[in-house]
Symmetry: C2
Subunit: 297 residues, 2 copies
């Protein structure tokens, strides 16, 4: 009934007061415009213009639609520009899911330069998933999954973005502090503090303690890194964290890193996306920037 072209016609016609001139700017013939407005008036059952001698003047109904069009058309124009941005991959919403606690610290380093480079991309970070990060990615709840445990599935694409060593963190005066590396048995009498996740997703268990059949004296879970490090600092326990994260916190806390095993635990953070999205430049750019982040160690 009432189409966008009609609103444009009403505006242009009011500006030019002349069918012929308005037709020109609208890239139509005068005839087409005449036919169009006649049909519109017939459909609406209302005169929108009075033929005032040689020119046209809006009626009250026409004036009403003029005010409508000056409200509507800018919104539509803006929307088309935004869609253009989406089309070029310059606008969007990057929903990032995290499956590891210290990933958040790392993510912060990536996000701020990224936001500057992509002003029309908004970032959401989600840390909890009902069905786990993988499902969230497949179900379009998130667009990018940061995880230390990639799983290769047909429609998903994982790639490592940075490597780090998972080490033991002890207080400055802890007896293990000066060891070149520790053995699983060294933890027999320690209190181990970790984030509250299942033991099979903690590398210190899966790659270090469990293979040796060792269980620490006690296991406590704490949600936040700062509190964990305060506990470690005051010799209330030891923890396992990425080396780079420990180095960043060594000025603030009296703590020290110790290698876990002779060769250390080597970890790789992966970023997963849907294969369908791999061409999106704002996603590819995020991964590029993620790989470029400089971390201590």
């Amino acid at each position: 009934m009432l189409e966008i072209i009609h609103l444009e016609i009403i505006q242009e016609l009011d500006k030019q007061k002349s069918l012929t001139k308005a037709a020109e700017t609208l890239c139509l013939s005068q005839s087409a415009l005449s036919h169009t407005i006649k049909k519109l008036e017939q459909q609406l059952g209302v005169a929108l213009w009075v033929r005032d001698g040689r020119y046209l003047r809006l009626t009250q109904a026409g004036l009403y639609l003029l005010s409508l069009s000056s409200r509507i058309l800018p919104q539509l124009n803006h929307a088309e520009m935004m869609i253009q941005q989406y089309a070029e991959g310059k606008a969007g919403n990057l929903r990032i899911g995290l499956e590891c606690y210290p990933c958040y610290q790392w993510l912060l380093k990536v996000v701020s330069p990224y936001l500057e480079a992509w002003p029309n991309i908004d970032i959401d970070v989600k840390q909890k998933f009902k069905f786990g990060g993988l499902d969230a990615l497949e179900n379009y709840e998130i667009d990018l999954l940061v995880t230390p445990d990639p799983i290769f599935k047909e429609d998903l694409l994982f790639q490592p973005v940075f490597d780090y060593e998972q080490i033991l963190v002890v207080g400055k005066n802890h007896p293990l502090k000066d060891k070149k590396y520790i053995q699983p048995t060294d933890l027999l009498n320690e209190i181990l503090i970790t984030y509250p996740v299942p033991a099979d997703r903690l590398d210190i268990y899966s790659q270090f303690l469990i293979p040796a059949g060792i269980v620490p004296h006690q296991h406590k879970t704490i949600e936040t890194t700062d509190i964990i490090l305060q506990m470690v600092e005051s010799h209330r326990g030891v923890t396992a964290l990425p080396l780079w994260l420990v180095k960043e916190n060594m000025k603030q806390f009296k703590i020290a890193p110790v290698r876990l095993g002779k060769h250390g635990i080597s970890k790789h953070i992966h970023v997963g996306i849907r294969k369908k999205d791999q061409e999106l430049s704002y996603i590819q750019s995020f991964i590029d920037q993620a790989m470029a982040v400089e971390l201590y160690g």
Copy 2:
């Protein structure tokens, strides 16, 4: 490019999640809808939906347009309703021009019942015109002219809406008070107070004094009726007003009416409209109500 039907499709498709069902409510075939959305996506250069197995899910660009459509469509729907109102003559803007000072008092009596009867008609009252009321009417600055001096022109239509007698107003103790009617010579020593308009538009001049070649002792002009009546009340002058207006004010002011000449001055207020507008029911209704107004005397 982006059409209203597209916004409707986006909404309906998001509601139903299914091309087939959405096509039904949109009164289209499934095929037509499929073609349409494919073309839209091609034109915009962006995917708006992901074909998620059997159903469709909006992409981020699609979600953006969904939010757009939920802002735009209600505005358009409302506009179409309003246009419908305009078409039925139930909405509009009645701009009334006044060419006589006491007309305003009379107008107030018409307006309030009219506004109740026509809730979507707004009334503007304009009392001053650069080029006079007639031109204002012809140039669509006003839609209805209230005037005691109709001029018959081809494109305009005047009709009398009420008759009244123009009388002299004097203070309660004025010597002329008890005369059955006065002669022009009776005003020789009086101070005549009028609204500030040219003498040829004052009936007391054109129909009473000038034919007799009489000029009053003094002539003062005052803009507001209340102040004029206060002056008359305190015997600072006399004035000429419609009888009905005087009767309305006799409780408030100590004043009295006296007939001007043996047969009085008979006046007719006319309402003028453009001939083109005579079918508009909200205008015709205004005139009907104007004629029905009850006035004293």
